[in-house]
Each structure stands twice: as C-alpha cells, then as structure tokens.
C-alpha cells in the first residue's frame, strides 16, 4: 500500500517527462547531452538562480527534518538513557557507548527474525497480489467512455483510501469476524465457526486483501495520468492497421505504461521492508505476535513501548541500510531493462 503513499507525486513527473520533455525544464543551453558539463558552474549558477532559489525551502525542510535527525542514529551504538541529562539530545553525550552490542542482540533475537520473515512474506504477497491490481483497474477505467460513469466509478474506488485503518479493520471485523455478517448468515444456515479475523494462518492474505480494498483504487491515479498522455493518434494508426482491442492494449497501452510501472516497482522494492504499521498493530491481538509482527511494529514496540531506544534505533538503522541497497539494486535492474528508473547518473 505504500505504493500509493510514496510514489504518486513523484511518479507522475518522470512519466510526463518521458513522453514530452518540456522546454521549461530543459535548459536551452543544453540541447545535446554532455554539453551542460562544459559550462562553468558559475555560469550555470547564474543561469539557474531562480530555479535554485525555488528549491531552497524544500531543501531546507529536508535537511531540518530528514538529515539532521539522522544524526540521532548514533544512539544505536549506545545504551541510551534519554533521562540522563536535562534533555534528550544532550543525554546522548551522557550515555555510555556499547559498540555493536545492540546489533548482536538483534541477530540473536528469534523474534527479530520472525518479524523479518513476516515482512518479506508480506512484501512478496503484496507484490504479486496487490501491485498488478491498480494497473488492471486503470485499464478498465480508461476503457470507460462516458465521463460521468467514469467519474463515479473512480470516486467510489478512491473512497476507501480516506478511511483510517481503525475503520477498515472494524469494517472487516463486522463482515468477516466471528460475529460478522458472513458468520451470522452461515450460522442461520447451520454452519458454525466461521471467523476469518482470528485465523493466524490466513492473516497474510487477510491484510493483503485489506490493503487492496483500501488503496488499490487510489493507486490507479498514476497509471491513469500515464494513460492520458498516450496520443490517440497511436490508437487510430493501430486500428487502421487492423489491430484489435487486445493488440492495441498490448502494443500501445502497455508500452506507454512501462516506464511508470518500472518506476513504481523500483520504489516499491526500495520500500520492501515497510509493509504497513497501524494495520498490524490493530490486529496483533487477534492473531498473535507470531503472525502479525513486522519490522515496523517490532521497532515501535522496542523503542516507544519499552523505551529501549538504542535497540530500536539499531534495528531501524539496519532496516534503512537494507532499504537503500534494495533501491540501488532495483534501479540498476530497471536500467538493465532499458527503463528510466528513479534516477540516472
């Protein structure tokens, strides 16, 4: 589901850029590749001044809220006591150093590995069962011609995205729970014991289904934007050449979507270790820790719940490091397939 969260705003831009590089974004002085490198940096600075000024506030926020807090990761190498000094920041200087002690604790903790296993299984399931659904939905919506029907269908599909997880879980409980609509109906017909919500074995499918219900509709936005950019000339030309509905989809629509799909896939893989948080926290008691613990809830329990900040920071740090590697690898893979990916050197 983080597919929708992280990737949407950035996703649209490269897609558009691929289709038609807009003049505004490409400096006129650099019509050919490589030419830009020959212009001295001072000239470039003057030329791009306005653009740089415009990005400064965003960079400032990024530094303030993303980069400076990164320094706090040093507590992963300490036995951090936030109350050791007058405030939590100076307490870092009063906490003893432990080296990699916290990391070896992590490696030796079977619960950490259980959380890793759950996370990976869920990621793979989401990749297979969730990722293709917004694409399919976008194709469906795109084939609807009447704008009114289309708008209504889209609105209905977006709606669950705005529900909180608490609400989603409650709705599922009322439908699929042991006292829910389905169980009650079955009960009336002589079958008893239906309870999907407390079944630890099916939990991974249940949470994937919840994610699909909540966020698949929202995920189609990016794909619809990409589809809107496909020139109708191409369809007409294909139709003239005798291409049927399926062939047009295969040879026109899907190739147009390919860069977006590759980009979202890269982002999703980079985010592989984040499969959700509230959703799992809310349902942990129903199915038990064994089935519901993922890395994010594990870190939360350790840090926020137990106050073991150093250990939680260590686990978070490892998770972050693996995430960076995954993004790099996926990006590389996208390049190998001839796609743009997230960035290029």
């Amino acid at each position: 589901m983080s597919l929708t969260a992280g990737s949407r705003p950035d996703g649209t831009r490269p897609a558009a850029a691929v289709e038609e590089p807009t003049a505004a974004l490409v400096p006129e002085a650099a019509p050919q590749k490589g030419a830009a490198h020959k212009v001295p940096w001072r000239v470039r600075l003057r030329r791009d001044r306005a653009l740089i000024l415009m990005t400064l506030p965003a960079i400032g926020l990024l530094v303030l809220f993303n980069y400076i807090p990164l320094l706090g990761n040093v507590v992963a190498f300490q036995d951090y006591d936030p109350y050791a000094s007058s405030n939590g920041i100076t307490a870092i200087f009063h906490s003893p150093w432990l080296g990699v002690e916290q990391f070896s604790r992590m490696v030796d903790d079977p619960l950490f590995w259980s959380a890793v296993k759950n996370t990976i299984v869920l990621f793979l399931l989401q990749l297979v069962l969730f990722f293709p659904i917004p694409i399919a939905l976008a194709l469906l919506i795109n084939s609807v011609i009447r704008p009114r029907v289309r708008a209504v269908a889209q609105a209905i599909m977006y709606l669950p995205h705005f529900f909180s997880w608490v609400l989603v879980v409650t709705v599922f409980q009322q439908v699929f729970g042991g006292a829910g609509i389905i169980a009650q109906t079955l009960e009336d017909h002589g079958w008893s014991g239906f309870d999907l919500m407390t079944n630890a074995d099916l939990f991974k499918f249940l949470v994937t289904a919840q994610s699909v219900w909540k966020d698949a509709g929202w995920g189609i936005i990016v794909f619809l934007a990409a589809l809107a950019a496909v020139s109708t000339d191409l369809y007409e030309a294909a139709a003239m050449d005798g291409a049927g509905r399926w062939r047009r989809m295969w040879h026109v629509t899907l190739p147009a979507l390919r860069p977006v799909i590759a980009l979202l896939l890269v982002l999703r893989v980079g985010d592989a270790l984040s499969v959700g948080f509230e959703q799992f926290l809310l349902q942990r008691d129903a199915v038990g820790v064994g089935a519901s613990e993922v890395l994010d809830t594990y870190v939360w329990n350790m840090g926020i719940q137990n106050g073991d900040f150093s250990y939680a920071a260590a686990v978070g740090l490892v998770k972050g490091a693996i995430g960076v590697c995954l993004v790099l690898a996926a990006n590389k893979f996208a390049h190998l397939l001839g796609e743009q990916g997230v960035y290029k050197k």
Partner: protein, 558 residues
Amino acid sequence: MTPNSPSASAPSRRSFLASTAVAAAAVAGGVPLLTACGGSENKDREGTTSGKAADKLLPTFVASKFADPDIASKNGSAAGYTGKVELSALAASVAKPLGSGAPFKVMSPFWGSPPKADCAYYTALDKAAGTKVTWQNQDGNTYGQKLGAVLASSSIPDMVVVPIWELVGKISNAVTAKFMDLGPYLAGDKVKKYPNLAAIPSDSWKMGIFGGALRGIPMPTASATFNIAYYRKDVFDKKGYKVPTSPDEFMSWAKEATSAKAKVYAVGDMSWTAFNVFGVRPSGTLGWHIGDDGKLTYRIEQPEYLEALEWTRKLFAAGVVHPDDKARSGDAGQRFTAGKILMYNMDMSHWYGKTAEQAKSNPDFKIEAMDIFGSDGGDPQLWASQPANIWSLIRKGASKETVENALAAANFAAAPYGTKERMLVDYGVEGTHYTVKDGVPVKNDQGNQEVVNAWVMLAAPAPYFAHPDYPDVARKQVEWEQRMGAFMKKTSTYGMNIVEPTRYANLSSQFEQLEIDFVRGNKKLSDVQQAISTWKSSGGDKLRDWYKKLIDKNGSGN
C-alpha cells in the same frame, strides 16, 4: 470514586514486545554490562524508602471531617455516602483561595475528548482555587508514549500527572531525575497550610516517595480495589440464570448462555477475573511476595498463574467468548449494554457509569458485580491494591510561586466529600454544568462534556463512593468491596513505592502480550513455560535477589 483506576486503561499499557526477555538473554552477560552503565546517579533512584526513613518525609496527617460517611470503611474498602447532601449547606474546606493566580502548566491523561482551554469549568475552578492552570490534556490510552518523550525534552510542564501503570522501562527512574522534592513544602507540619492534602492518609503519601524524597501527590486507592466481573442482572433474572460460584459452574453457565444464532455470547475476555479467582498477584512490584514456604516469588512463578491462563483459554476454546473480544476489536462495555455479552471485566467506575448511561434508553438494564469465588469454589485469595496509583508531580526547577500554586490546585482537588470545592470539582457550576432536581445534582450536556478528568487527576481525598443520583450504586460498591476485602491479603511489597533497577526494566514486558496470545490459542503452553524460564535466567533470579535485599532492609509490606 476513583475516576480512572489502572485497570480501566490497562489495555493501553500493553507491553507489546514478546522479545525483550529473549533479547536480554542474548546479551547474556548483558546484565553486568549494563550495570556498569547505570552510573552512580541511578543508584539513588532505585529501591524504596520505608519505616522511619519514610516517616520523616511524610506530611503530618490531620483528619478532616465535613460529612460522615453513611458506611464506614471496612476490610480495606472505600467509604460510602448514600444519604442526601444538603447542597445549600455545603462548607468550604479552605477559607480563601490558596493560589496567587500565577500561571502554570499541567500535563494530564485524558480519556475522551477534552473541552476548550477556556471552558466554563476550567475558568470557574481557577477562580475558586486562585490558580491559572493551562491544561495539556493528552490521550490517556497512549499517555505513556507521550510521557516518555516529554520527560526526555527540556520543556517539562510544571506539573505532570503520572499513573503507576506508565512506570515502565526507564520512566520510573526519570520521575526521580526530573521532579522535585516536595519535602520543603509538605513534610511534617508544613502540610497544614494545605488541609485537604494533610487529610490524605499517610499510606497513600508513602507511595509518593521516589528516590528517597517525597515527590508525588497521591490519588489514594482503597486497598480492596479489584477488577470486577460485571453481569447483566436483568438478563440473569429473566432467563433464570444463577450467578456462578465456582470455575466449573461458570463454564457450564457460559455454555448455556451462549447462542451464536441469537447473537448472544456469555462473556468478554475474562482474563482478569481468572487471575482473581486463582489468586494470581498483580503485575509490577506488587507481584513479588514471600509465600508461606518463605520463598520469594514473582507472580508468573505461581503455579496458579498457568492455571488461570489455562482456564481462560478453555473459555475461548469453548466459543463462549464474543468473537469481537477474541479479536480485541471494539468496546466490550458497549457489547454488554447491547446484550451481546452478559459478563465482562472492568474496573469499579463502570458500575455507576453504565447505570447512569443506560437509565434513559434502557430502563430494564441492571448491572451487578459477581462475587469473586475461589478456584475450588470456596473463598478466593485476593491481593490488596497499592494505596495510591496515580500521582501529580512538580518539575525540578519550578519557582516557589509555581510550586505553591500547584499545591493549591492539588489541595483544591483533594477536598473531601461534603465541601463546596468537591462539588465544584465533580459537578462544575450549578446552572451551567448541572441542575438540581429533588435535591439531586444532575449534569447537563455541557457538564458531561467539560467536567471530565483534568482537575480530579491532581489529587483526591481518602477513597469514597458517592453518587447522589444513584445512592444505591454507592452502597453496593462499598458492600462488594467489603465482602471481597475479607478475602484480601497484602503482598510483601505492599505499600512501598519500589523503583526497580533500569537493567531489569523490560524483563517482564513480554508477559502481557503472551497472556493475550496464549488464551486465544495463538501461543502454546510450552511458549509460556519457556518465557518463564527465560525470564528467570535472563535476570529474574537476579531481580529476586535484589527484592530479597530490599525486603530484608525495609521489612515486609504485609
């Protein structure tokens, strides 16, 4: 009337992580290693203070009498007021406001949605107490997370309310480090400036000693405070059910009363009742006790601990627990009033709360408390609650004026029943927050919205029950506590505010989740047994030695 006793919000205090003990085991030598990190300062924060050392720190007790209770305290129960109060004849406990009007900030847990900062209730109370409080109300269900962060910041509010169940991890240590010694303001006769604080029982004050100094202003609790199994008296009468008096009877009643087809399940999650029935001690410091065999054990080492869990598990397995309770979804109290379950666990506050809530919409509704039975159907073995479980504390470095204003506010909140102050704290302003009908005050909508939490969290008088609109409920509450109190024993750690060394901070944090998982069939008995033996080897046995020394030094609390 303890507005929020710990059990009410216990679910929020969930110690999520099942791995801590295992993780601690992984450090193996981690205990000595972390000891080294404790530093000398931490040493002063650990342990407890009792006996003569404690007596020196305590305020002098001066009883205050404004209204004699109709039912006196017995067997550790609260006192009860069941008669009518002459509202026009209420006296003031303090002649003139004690506060100087200097502003100060209070952070306090709040269950529900807080009113506006300038609401009529806060304004009226400030005026009467001579204070100017800025309330920083925080969601009571996630209060611990907020508290941990606030204590680590450099801007701690002047006064902070800390419930005992949030003292997990390093927080109990932080309380000593961040809050001031109130001795110079309250010890001995100094307290007489604040007559209502002076009337708080010494046992409760003793619980306010952190790190060898009196820091916390207590909210006293009756020691005969136990979690209650409420049942629908009206449904029991209608269906002719007999209230169970043994675990077996309970099981057969539950099976009889459950009908999935009719959408009625017998019970919610009865874990807490099971612990009471089997005589399992509370978690936390009260869980330590020297048994008749002279051995010091923690609650999870009691054989009854596994028996209680096993019995609860059987209830779940029998399908008599509502599926939503199995999934821990929604509110059991609402299922109870809706008739979807006939029995559930909750603290004392729901007796009155549900009675008042249902009176209009559901006139047949009758709520009663089941008498706790023993595991063999005989008398139960119950364990006394600590004499105080919520404190308000004042930050180190607060000015003298701030401290005096904070104490003035606490003194106001601790006004005994039968005073003008009490009426104002509990009901607000007549005409604005409540109206009087036949001599009985009844809160209106504004009253229900504004007169919630906040002021009552600062301090409280000796425990009592009084519900002018439902005097019968107050009587039943006291009688139940007195009946149950007769079976009550105190653990060796009773009455002592004990701060465990931080290296054991997360040793037991896994058990709450483990209990939840085990009774629902998501963990095996062997998992629990394994966790207990890991607990022992990864610090439990060392913690035992620590407690042994502590009890040797301070004497047993029972």
